[in-house]
């Protein structure tokens, strides 16, 4: 249980035991509680007072399947709120196997100086000058880093967008094939990493010093129960392997909640050409991989490898949210173009969602035509070059709306919505409006309740309660390092009990079933407190105005949850 504290102002690295206050925390719980304790809420997100924290989950680095999610936290330059963005890949498992609870980056490097942080198989960490890597895109960067340091390393890195400190810049992580195609995309944390002066963090995957498990036998037994449940569940065990998350395209489109043409329509005419079914068929025909292991210890294999007509690699993995943001929102119904845009986002190091929506807003404002894939690709290159329009786009939809004086900007607290229109899935609108992170579907996504017929997506009734429950559950899950897709299996009581047993077996605690949601509430309270102290009020917990006044076809509904109801979302008792 160790922290690596990196001071970029002095370029020092200190390894310390985890202080008692933070023992038993991991992932989002650790990043959010630490930021609330240690970062001045009104600080400049790109200044020296902000901290960038990388924390694997409580169960990362253990033998449990699907536990390689890393939480990255800081004050966000995009939203101005506290932020946790988590990503898959290999680094969380690597850090867990080294017994590293978090990397905390503080201060700012001198201007124009770049460094890499290298963590070896013994957990020793050192900064290395990285000015030679300046301006590199992530694929070339990671290829070189793995040549220099060996293939058995995981990498966290930024591309040009992070170096420009753009508000949509991502932190990319490498997958099991050593490609930087997994992203902590949300909230512009790549800009914070760029401001700190860190280009990459290279982490050995050969660590053999994970934290001791208090009760190894109990852990092993429950881990088997959990893995079997993930495999047996129709969603995580069958559908995701067959279609990936892209399987949601046809379903959400058919509910009329697939925001298209900058959220002016809820059904995308060209949906059959970008559906998960067509994606799988296309990949199969071309000899790519319809299912693929992207993250360490993954048994779901929702990832895919998209190839062009000649069978050459284009990107991994093409997922639902990106297919929407680069397809539905700008009106592009060509998977080859969408795949290229996905690759460019990973390579430049920028959030696919915020960027696709930014392009959609620019098209809606008349800057380019909806559906013009070539124009979208050219706009991505503008971002990479750091031109004036590129910087506007790279700062996200709100910046684009301001630049073109365009009113229809689907954001909350500056961050774009995800692939569920709040007028067609009202509860996701509650989550977008109230999440401490800005519009973020992963904070509490209700699509499962809608697709399962358990909640009417179009009525106000029941949405706040469902969002509250989902936001608490996700805040808890994000502490563990577990993938949310594996979380589908947790609905069964014996599986949630197995998870509780594993946490107790790992930590040597006697937590009860109520302690899991209590942890989620504790995390949310810390995040809400930080935001309040940063100056946010309930008036900020609202959707963009147009969602309340522009009906969305085909249901022709507006967002109908009242402000009063929104303000009761975090009435926990």
């Amino acid at each position: 249980m160790q922290f690596i504290r990196v001071n970029m102002s002095e370029q020092t690295v200190k390894i310390e035991n985890v202080p008692q206050d933070y023992v038993g925390l991991g992932g989002r719980g650790l990043t959010s509680i630490m930021i609330n304790n240690e970062v001045p809420p009104t600080c400049d997100p790109l200044g020296s007072e902000n901290k960038l924290i990388f924390a694997p989950g409580l169960l990362s680095g253990t033998s449990l399947v699907n536990t390689s999610r890393i939480s990255i936290g800081a004050k966000s330059p995009l939203t101005g709120t506290i932020k946790e963005s988590n990503a898959g890949g290999t680094v969380a498992a690597a850090l867990g196997k080294l017994g590293i609870t978090a990397i905390i980056v503080e201060g700012l490097a001198p201007q124009d100086k770049l460094f890499n942080l290298i963590i070896d198989q013994n957990g020793n960490a050192a900064l290395q000058a990285a000015n030679d890597f300046k301006g590199m895109r992530t694929y070339a960067l990671v290829e070189r880093l793995l040549q220099d340091h060996g293939e058995k390393n995981g990498v966290l890195c930024i591309g040009p967008a992070g170096e420009y400190q753009l508000a949509s810049a991502s932190i990319q992580t490498s997958d099991v094939d050593g490609r930087p195609c997994r992203a902590a995309g949300r909230g512009g944390l790549g800009a914070v990493m760029g401001a700190k002066g860190i280009k990459a963090i290279v982490i050995s995957q050969k660590g053999k010093s994970p934290d001791a498990i208090a009760d190894p036998e109990s852990f092993k037994e429950s881990a088997k129960v959990f893995a079997k449940a993930v495999k047996d569940h129709p969603f995580s065990g069958q559908m995701l392997g067959a279609l990936g998350t892209a399987g949601l395209v046809s379903a959400v489109n058919s509910t009329g909640a697939f925001p298209s043409y900058n959220a002016t329509k809820g059904v995308f005419e060209g949906w059959e050409k970008i559906s998960g079914e067509f994606l799988a068929e296309t990949i199969q025909k071309r000899g790519g991989q319809t299912t693929h292991m992207g993250c360490s210890q993954c048994i779901i294999r929702c990832s895919n490898v998209f190839v062009d007509e000649g069978g050459k690699y284009v990107t991994a993995s093409l997922e639902y949210e990106t297919i929407w943001s680069m397809g539905g929102m700008p009106g592009i119904d060509d998977l080859d173009v969408i795949a290229r845009l996905d690759f460019l986002c990973d390579d430049i190091g920028i959030d696919t969602m915020n960027t696709g929506v930014a392009i959609g807003v620019a098209m809606d404002a008349g800057y380019k035509e909806f559906g013009d894939g070539q124009a979208a690709i050219e706009l991505m290159e503008e971002i990479s070059k750091g031109t004036e329009i590129g910087k506007v786009l790279g700062n996200g939809p709100a910046a684009v709306g301001k630049h073109f004086n365009h009113h229809r900007v689907p954001v909350v607290k500056g961050q774009s919505i995800a692939a569920y229109d709040p007028r067609g899935m009202q509860g996701n609108g509650v989550t977008y409006a109230t999440s401490p992170m800005g519009a973020d579907h992963t904070a509490g996504n209700l699509v499962g309740a809608y697709l399962g017929g358990m909640l009417n997506p179009l009525e106000a009734e029941g949405q706040v309660k469902a969002s509250r429950k989902a936001q608490i559950a996700m805040a808890s899950l994000d502490c563990t390092g577990l993938c949310m897709l594996a979380g589908a299996a947790l609905a069964a009581p014996d599986v949630s009990e197995a998870l509780l047993k594993m946490i107790n077996a790992k930590l040597g605690t006697q937590l009860g079933a109520d302690d899991i949601p209590a942890l989620g509430i504790r995390v949310l309270k810390a995040e809400l407190e930080f935001n309040r102290n940063a100056g946010f009020t309930s008036k900020d917990d609202r959707l963009a105005k147009f969602f309340y006044v522009e009906p969305l076809p085909p249901h022709n509904k507006v967002f109908v949850v009242t402000d009063e109801d929104l303000d009761s979302t975090f009435d926990f008792e």
Binding site: P234, G256, V447, G448
Partner: protein
């Protein structure tokens, strides 16, 4: 009456030779409901989730009309 059922997710795998562009032509009694169609296709319990007709979500107790195209999805969670 005859209706057309289009299957999504992994549901098509249950019908060898299923053509995604055509779907399945299914004969059901006049006035049959969505749940009757699902039962006819053997889509039961947690298999079945959302059903839509012409991009509008329908409930399992809703009646179907002659000649409609019905989209049947599997239950899915967040992406």
């Amino acid at each position: 009456m005859k209706i057309r059922a289009k299957l999504f997710g992994t549901l098509p795998q249950r019908y060898p030779g299923y053509d995604p562009s055509q779907g399945l032509e299914v004969e059901i009694p006049d006035g049959a409901k969505v749940k009757d169609l699902l039962a006819r296709l053997g889509i039961i319990g947690s298999d079945g989730g959302l059903v839509a007709v012409d991009n509008l979500v329908v409930q399992h107790d809703d009646s179907l009309k002659e000649g409609v195209s019905v989209d049947i999805f599997q239950r899915a969670f967040g992406g």
